[in-house]
Assembly symmetry: C2
């Protein structure tokens, strides 16, 4: 079966073993005589799948017992509203670091429901770095402090050792594009959310890890379906959950676990990213715009400096079997999203192509 | 491959041809070298899938041009909030017919955002009928009038010729459990929503058909992701849509079209339902609680009159290869959900089993 190297930022490549297994089990899951898509969410078959997904995610992320795990619908964009609707419960204030377009959207949605303050922004330099911040500038009684841990579009990230120290204020992290990619200490967060469609499964599932004390304080105007408490009280089955997507997430969790877990993924991901960044830094043609210490190990952005050459690169790389290397429409250039499922062979193929391209277009 | 007859109310049986095709295309869709799950929602591959899904749904439902079709996340339960948040824009009043648990939940959620009035309820007789109503009792300046067209749990339905005549007030229909099952005139509705997981695809997609003039009047408090206008303006791609679920819906639409469309499905569905209801009505042991003229042709509820026999029936039917015949936990008894994908052979197998069961337990 033909397979390309798919560098899409999301939805994005999944482990081929997972897809193969899903294909094998599509018409009948185990000896059930049913597809997972056809199973009642109240059936013991699906309950087992959900419990297994939850327990694997807990294990992989090393989630402490005082956190709840929820599998929701609506994408990370729905979290932009759920977070303020549920967490703005005391001072009605929240702090934000604006390190990219998604971080900004989260801020804008929160500003509709409470007093949202931008503590720092890197928009001045096209989001090419993570601003240094001082806890003294944070709102001491904020209900939460929001960061986008990995900035998918611009290719920067908060390293695990560079999270803002928010003290007692719950840190909320959008980890849509770097979930399960390297080890983060969940206990430093009040809430972590991630759309599944990058490193975890198909679009249509959002995994939320929320500290239990943050559940149950939703604003009166909160739609029932956007209330974390409703989903926590019903183990993500208040209504019909995105069952098939959760099943695929479970298969991906199993795959990550078999590879050695998140720490093992981190090691490989850092090797993959280093190889690519080193090549770019040594190249005369290609440049990576993000400052080295804040670079994402999932989304590698780079440019030639010429719009024409960038366009040619995207076109010719596609012919060479590499898909979706075009940068996000808002910044142009190139972006190689190298999630967990991208093998080293994909990086090597890309670097070979870049070498050849540089030679031909020097 | 083992297949059972799956009478689940949702998620529920899908055409085996659709599942087979999905399995075949799982690792590489056409010559793309990617799974549909891995495709960027901005890619031409996925754009084609979405456009095709939309156009097939429009064709099958005979949707007039002044309506928009949206594929959303959040299930029908999220529509319970989206409808009032978007439609309560003038008088802030809405009318409801409470013909089952879902109808009631829709009413309760609307009551949180505006003045919601119950025009009629059949709760007095365990929702076993559709109340007769008189337009004179309707709120003349209501912003909408909501009905649950098919009551999944209790097994009743508003026949296409028995819709309330709401005049200029937009009729909103929850068609989660009878979408694509028989011909309804879309132009009689202002909005029709349906969770996909019964007759259309997997859980995680909600199809909304909305008259264009009803778009763009959301309340200020409406979360961006719950605003129909956001999704209409962005052709259901404001954020990452549930791509894989939409693809499965497309395959189901193709299957329905190949069978002759909704009118053809209606004919078969009525034959299937009639056979089963006739058997029940002629049986001494089994009774169907819903009044004949309001019976659902999708969800057939029946009882023996004895809780013990009901439990035995469910247990033994499972052994005989029929899954999920247990009635909803809120009413007990039995329920056979016989959606489009349930073949006549499934009905025959069920009736044979019921015949045997009656003989053995008379
Ligand atoms: C970091 C981040 N946050 C949020 C989103 C929005 O996610 P969704 O499309 O699931 O709403 C994305 C999507 O690419 C993202 O990369
Ligand atoms: C008629 C009807 N409306 C609404 C719902 C709720 O749908 P969801 O679980 O997608 O929120 C159901 C689910 O069974 C239903 O049958
Ligand atoms: Mg970004
Ligand atoms: Mg360089
Ligand atoms: Mg009902
Ligand atoms: Mg009888």
């Amino acid at each position: 079966m033909k397979r390309v190297y798919n560098f899409s930022a999301g939805p994005s490549c999944l482990p081929v073993e997972v897809l193969q297994k899903a294909a094998d089990e599509m018409v009948s899951y185990g000896d059930s005589g049913m597809s997972v898509m056809e199973m009642s969410h109240r059936s013991s078959y699906f309950k087992d799948i959900l419990a297994e997904a939850k327990s694997l995610y807990k294990e992989l992320m090393n989630v402490p017992d005082n956190y709840e795990i929820l599998f929701l619908q609506g994408g990370a964009s729905t979290q932009f509203a759920m977070v303020p609707l549920n967490l703005l419960s005391k001072s009605n204030k929240a702090d934000f670091m604006v390190t990219g377009s998604w971080a900004k959207k989260a801020y804008q949605e929160s500003a509709r429901y409470g007093e949202a303050k931008v503590i720092a922004s890197s928009e001045d330099k096209t989001f090419s770095y993570i601003p240094k911040v001082d806890s003294k500038d944070f709102t001491p009684d904020a209900d939460f402090f929001h960061i986008c841990v990995n900035n998918t579009i611009y290719g920067s990230r908060f390293r695990p050792d560079n999270l803002p120290d928010t003290g007692d204020v719950p840190l909320v992290g959008d980890m849509s594009s770097n979930i399960l990619s390297e080890v983060y200490d969940v206990s430093k967060f009040g809430l972590i959310y991630a759309g599944a469609q990058k490193n975890m499964g198909p679009a249509g599932v959002t995994a939320v890890i929320i500290r239990k004390d943050l559940i149950g304080h939703a604003k009166d105007i909160t739609p029932t379906m956007l209330n974390y408490k409703i989903h926590a009280d019903n183990d993500s089955c208040y209504n019909t959950p995105p069952c098939y997507g959760i099943y695929i997430c479970k298969l991906v969790y199993e795959w990550v676990k078999a590879k050695g877990g998140v720490a093992a993924m981190e090691k490989i991901n850092k090797e993959k990213a280093k190889k690519l960044y080193d090549f770019i830094d040594n190249s005369k043609l290609f440049t990576a715009p993000v400052v080295p210490e804040d670079r994402s190990i999932m989304n590698v952005t780079f440019v030639t400096g010429s719009d024409e050459l960038d366009a040619l690169f995207v076109k010719e790389s596609k012919k060479a079997g590499m898909e979706n290397l075009k940068g996000h429409r808002s910044i142009g250039g190139m972006r190689a999203s190298i999630y967990n499922a991208m093998p080293m062979a994909g990086i090597d193929t890309l670097i070979d192509f870049m070498t050849k391209f540089e030679k031909e277009n020097a």
